[in-house]
């Protein structure tokens, strides 16, 4: 069905060989494979990091513009054409600001906290499969590694709150730690279902398994609930509205980054956007088919009537560019969705936040995994696995296989919602009347 992602593309040793041929040297690339892995990782990571930072700078402007258009205003449009240089101007301004370290603050921890907060996000960029070849490190346990590393950024947050010697920051740091820990569980459990389907934790493999038109993607037909859980947990992990209590401007005057000025503040600010970008990219990779086009075939394939696997040379390069285009398009769709949610919803209180995660999202994700497990392993009378009848695996499969799958999902999810709504609930009007 799919090939495991190699650690580096096959043209890399060829190019190096050509370079070495100029010096008349020859190398047995089978022995030097690990060096190539590292080299490829470094090259791609640098490239991605640069592109991702540019993306982050663009996202800051995009947020202001999107929020402005949603409120019938124009965003920044004075600095550069359509305000394109606004973030740069903001960055320069922050660079020139006086770097204040509050008296009584722990200088070392205060300085290191933004870096600790930013570092894990930076590491993520190496794991995102932008295209089939543009993947810095193809870790066999990539999905696990991502969420393990993301927990490290919480340490940075708490340190920032503690080291500021400020009650507001301390409160903000504590709140953000509680929030991050609570929402990591549904985050990981949502991905668990996807890993079950693919049979591998390698993110490149997960993307490759979603080859095909949009109905093959995991988040569209197979587990939309997982997509929902993952998206909400992403917002909570990145501290965005409605989960932005740690930096609630009106309640705690910026929470954990109250005391930060200048470039340290800019680092927090940019790290948040970088984390949003990285998480949206993972969202796309896990649930929306990564770099595959929604039409099934790439536009380049349709134009040149060739199969993607057979393309070489400049056509392959064009294909990679098109893959990148689709990937970025979908990622920005999620980023736009996050900004749209920011423009609409108010903030959740701390107890609401915890309640939402522990009492709703976690039970929902447990049931979700249950349904996915059933889908994967259920055996029909006759010994055949249900998976063989699932539409995604058999093109042109019969109506009965669709029916089986829809019935299973409807029964389990419908039952869950009815249970939640009826057993323990009051109607909205009754609740308003009984308070």
């Amino acid at each position: 069905m799919y090939q495991p992602t190699p650690d580096f593309p096959e043209w890399l040793p060829r190019i190096f060989q050509k370079i070495l041929d100029l010096f008349g040297l020859s190398v047995n690339w089978a022995d030097w494979g690990s060096l190539l892995t590292v080299l490829w990782a470094v090259v791609v990571f640098t490239l991605i990091a640069v592109v991702a930072q540019a993306s982050v700078i663009f996202m800051v402007l995009m947020e202001r513009k999107v929020l402005a258009w949603m409120t019938q205003r124009k965003g920044p449009n004075r600095v550069g054409p359509w305000g394109a240089l606004q973030t740069l101007a903001d960055g320069v301004k922050l660079l020139f600001k006086e770097d204040i370290i509050p008296k009584g603050a722990n200088k070392f921890l205060f300085t290191i906290a933004p870096a600790l907060f930013f570092l894990p996000t930076f590491v993520f960029f190496g794991l995102i499969p932008f295209t089939s070849q543009l993947l810095a490190v193809a870790l066999p346990a990539g999905a696990l590694f991502v969420f393990a590393i993301s927990s490290l950024s919480v340490v940075g947050l708490v340190l920032a709150g503690w080291a500021s010697n400020n009650k507001y920051s301390l409160l903000g740091g504590m709140r953000s730690a509680a929030q991050a820990i609570s929402y990591e569980i549904p985050l990981v459990m949502a991905v668990l279902g996807v890993v079950l389907f693919t049979g591998s934790m390698n993110i490149g493999d997960i993307v490759k398994a979603q080859q095909g038109p949009f109905w093959n993607w995991y988040g569209v037909l197979l587990t939309p609930v997982s997509l929902f859980i993952f998206f909400i947990s992403t917002l909570a992990e990145v501290n965005r509205v409605p989960f932005d209590l740690p930096e609630a401007e009106s309640e705690l005057v910026s929470g954990y980054n109250t005391e930060y000025t200048g470039m340290k503040f800019a680092l927090f600010f940019l790290a948040e956007y970088a984390a949003l970008f990285a998480m949206s990219a993972f969202n796309v990779a896990f649930f929306l088919g990564g770099y595959f086009s929604p039409f099934g075939k790439f536009i380049l394939e349709l134009l040149t009537h060739q199969e993607a696997a057979q393309m070489t040379g400049p056509l392959q390069l064009g294909l990679q560019v098109e893959m990148l285009f689709w990937f970025m398009m979908k990622t920005y769709l999620f980023i736009f969705l996050a900004m749209w949610v920011r423009g609409t919803l108010p903030r959740l209180k701390p107890d609401q936040l915890m309640g939402f995660s522990w009492k709703f999202l976690i039970p929902l994700s447990l049931i979700n995994i249950f349904v996915i497990a059933i889908e994967k392993f259920m055996v029909l009378p006759g010994g055949e696995s249900v998976m063989n009848h699932l539409p995604i695996l058999q093109p042109g499969s019969s109506l009965s296989s669709w029916a089986i799958w829809i019935v299973i999902a409807a029964v389990v999810f419908g039952g869950f919602f009815i249970l939640m709504s009826r057993l323990l609930s009051e109607k909205l009007e009754a609740r308003l009347a009984h308070r």
Binding site: Q72, K74, V341, T344, L345, Q352, G355, F356, E426, L428
Partner: protein
């Protein structure tokens, strides 16, 4: 005594789908604004449309031929809520006609209330629709008689826009 609030952190009490539907409605309202034209007025390329009665910069009107209209009665200075904002010095010439030596208004302290414009018996001190009054020092905001007085043509223009007749003695 106020009763303690019920802490509604129990999400199973919400009808989940109804809550999502309401959030969806709110989000679609917000998105619908995305497609409406922005209401931003891009100042300074586009100037706002001000009414005739706008409380902008103060000015002293003159008669159509440019001679002073002010009679130095100090009515404006007396009704100004800010003490000593308007300073007028005058003397009478040989024909007992008033001659204004000094007329200063400190725009930095003025609150643009319009009291002075209302009590002037000769309709002399009035507002112009000019709001761009910033300057680089507080002293520059103190306008004297030269800054305040409009020419005869400007005064007639002012009166014309507001439907008043030109003032010829």
């Amino acid at each position: 005594m106020s009763t303690s609030p019920q802490h509604h952190n129990d999400f199973t009490q919400n009808r989940v789908l109804e809550g999502l539907k309401e959030i969806g409605k709110g989000m679609s309202t917000v998105l619908s604004h995305y497609f409406r034209p922005p209401v931003t007025l891009e100042y300074p390329e586009v100037m706002p449309d001000l009414s005739d009665r706008f409380h902008g910069r103060l000015c002293l009107l003159t008669k159509s031929d440019g001679t002073d209209l002010c009679i130095g009665c100090q009515a404006c200075a007396r009704v100004c809520p800010c003490n000593d904002l308007i300073q007028i010095e005058m003397h009478r010439d040989a024909q007992k006609k008033p001659v204004i030596d000094q007329f200063t208004i400190d725009l930095g302290r003025c609150i643009f209330c319009g009291n002075c414009t209302e009590v002037c018996p000769v309709d002399c001190i009035k507002f112009l629709p000019d709001f761009e009054l910033s300057d680089f020092s507080r002293e520059a905001l103190v306008l004297d008689k030269k800054d305040l007085t409009l020419s005869g043509e400007e005064s007639d223009q002012w009166r014309l826009v507001r439907g008043m007749e030109p003032l010829v003695e």
